[in-house]
């Protein structure tokens, strides 16, 4: 349970005109900003702001899986750790994993396992760390969306990015992307994550009260929003790699190219070859 502020029960989460407390319409996302490559030490990273949520994600690996008994001789493990900073919520959260964060870490790990080419990196682990710095509901979606960008920034081969969003029900109306008050006082919340290119659902949770028709409506909102978020993720990566290219350009200009003729070419790098399959 995250913090709960006291708001009178009569409070209307959505008015007759379909406007929510924060001024959004039912099908409107909170503003989202994503930046890739924000940390120096990590192999890949991303920072994301989603409404009042602030989330950092870092990726390390593929690296040797520890503890070793967890190693899979056939594939890489994708191990996610979702963690909330003690100051990220109104009432201080005790540091360290609790049952909620263990479950969220598990379902996010499973979601990424569906897209990472795990069979290319046997015995390794791709470690995904999500730190929630400021929370305002929807942190698992924000964390997953950020971590997806961090995985791409780390150059981890994936079938596609994963994009996450939630929809729920407030004041009897199905609505996109609930904030904290709406989550606490609404009737249902349904976070999901999809592979945008194929529409596969890789994460799905729901709590509250929805009819089957309302569920369809909620998924339609979330999938529509995921398309917008997917573009923001791709844009963050484009900006990241444009800046990498610029830096390389500057480096090249500072150092004049060597005049000597190229000598014997080295043999083709093994990275270019398809991964070898061990038939034994």
């Amino acid at each position: 349970m995250e913090d709960i502020e006291h708001i009178p029960k009569e409070l209307k989460l959505i008015d007759a005109k379909g406007i929510r407390l924060d001024g959004r319409r039912a099908d409107e996302l909170r503003p989202i900003k994503i930046e890739a490559g924000v940390l120096k030490k990590a192999d890949g990273s991303a920072y994301l702001e989603w409404g009042n949520n602030k989330v950092l994600a870092a990726v390390y690996g593929p690296r040797e899986a520890h503890p070793r008994h967890l190693q899979d001789p056939a594939k890489a493990l994708v191990q996610c750790r979702y963690n909330m900073a003690p100051f990220s919520v109104t009432d201080r959260k005790r540091p360290g994993p609790d049952r909620r964060s263990v479950e969220i870490s598990k379902v996010i790990s499973e979601a990424f396992s569906a897209v990472v080419f795990v069979e290319q990196f046997p015995r390794t682990s791709v470690d995904v760390y999500i730190e929630v710095l400021q929370a305002d509901a929807g942190t698992r979606c924000a964390g997953l969306t950020a971590a997806s960008v961090a995985l791409a920034d780390a150059g981890i081969p994936m079938r596609d990015l994963v994009t996450s969003c939630a929809s729920g029900k407030i004041g009897g109306v199905v609505a996109l992307d609930l904030n904290k008050d709406e989550d606490n006082f609404g009737e249902a919340d349904c976070p999901m994550a999809i592979v945008p290119r194929t529409g596969e659902i890789v994460l799905l949770q729901m709590d509250g009260h929805l009819t089957a028709a309302e569920f369809d409506e909620a998924m339609e909102l979330s999938i529509g929003a995921a398309k917008q978020i997917y573009e923001l993720q791709r844009d963050a990566l484009r900006r990241r790699f444009a800046s990498v290219a610029e830096a390389a350009q500057r480096e090249a200009e500072r150092e004049p190219p060597r005049e000597e003729p190229p000598r014997e070419m080295p043999p083709e790098m093994p990275e270019d070859l398809p991964p070898e399959v061990d038939d034994l």
Binding site: R99, V102, K106, C190, I201, V202, M206, G208, L210
Partner: protein
Amino acid sequence: MTAEVISELLREHINRLAATGKRTDGRAFDEPRPLTVQKNYIKNAEGSARVQLGDTDVLVGVKIDVGEPYPDTPNQGVLSTSAELVPLASPTFEAGPPSPTAIELARVVDRGIRESKTVNTEKLCITPKEKVWIMFIDIHALDYDGNLFDAASYGALAALSCAKVPASKIGKEDYPLPLEHWPISVTAAKIGGNVLVDPNLDEERIAAARITVTTDENGDIRAMQKGLRGSFSLDEVRAAIRTSQRVGKGLRGIIQRA
């Protein structure tokens, strides 16, 4: 939890059967295993049930004690759910602190009970802000042959349905736990392109993805959880919801009558 080696022969066998609409134990894709429920199995628990879903065997106890309410719900009783995957139940279960699997199990069962407002927690208030009844649901796996999610949630519901609030402890008369809804979870596993209800252990071990849908007596959805590394299409999720509504009816009847 240690991983268990899965025989390629078995994997192929199950896949080949599924491709022709069959299962290893002869069931239809939307047919759960036989469910038996024994209520009041443990005398020292305020409510309890032993549930067998095929060869999966789970004991659920409900203990009810006086405690403090949460500050944001000062006049409501409290629900707390835990699960123990004890090594007695499976060669893959290990002693020690709860694994992520056990935590997910407890939280999914808890979500189904909580979100459908199964128990009227306002009737569990003793003194607002100070004293309320706290329900502890403890799930104890005895024999693991797949689909603990459903076996445990049927056990939890059955145990709650026969539980008594021990009000004699505070000088009042004991009364039955105020149960108002009957949420039923139905879990299905994706094998090849098929979605199979109530997977047994062999099916569960080769499944790409798992989905649990909890519906109430009106057929409304109260909780969902997708698990494992694979994925579902939206149509598969919709089909799982319809199956849960349909299959849930029969199972609810068994638990109510037990």
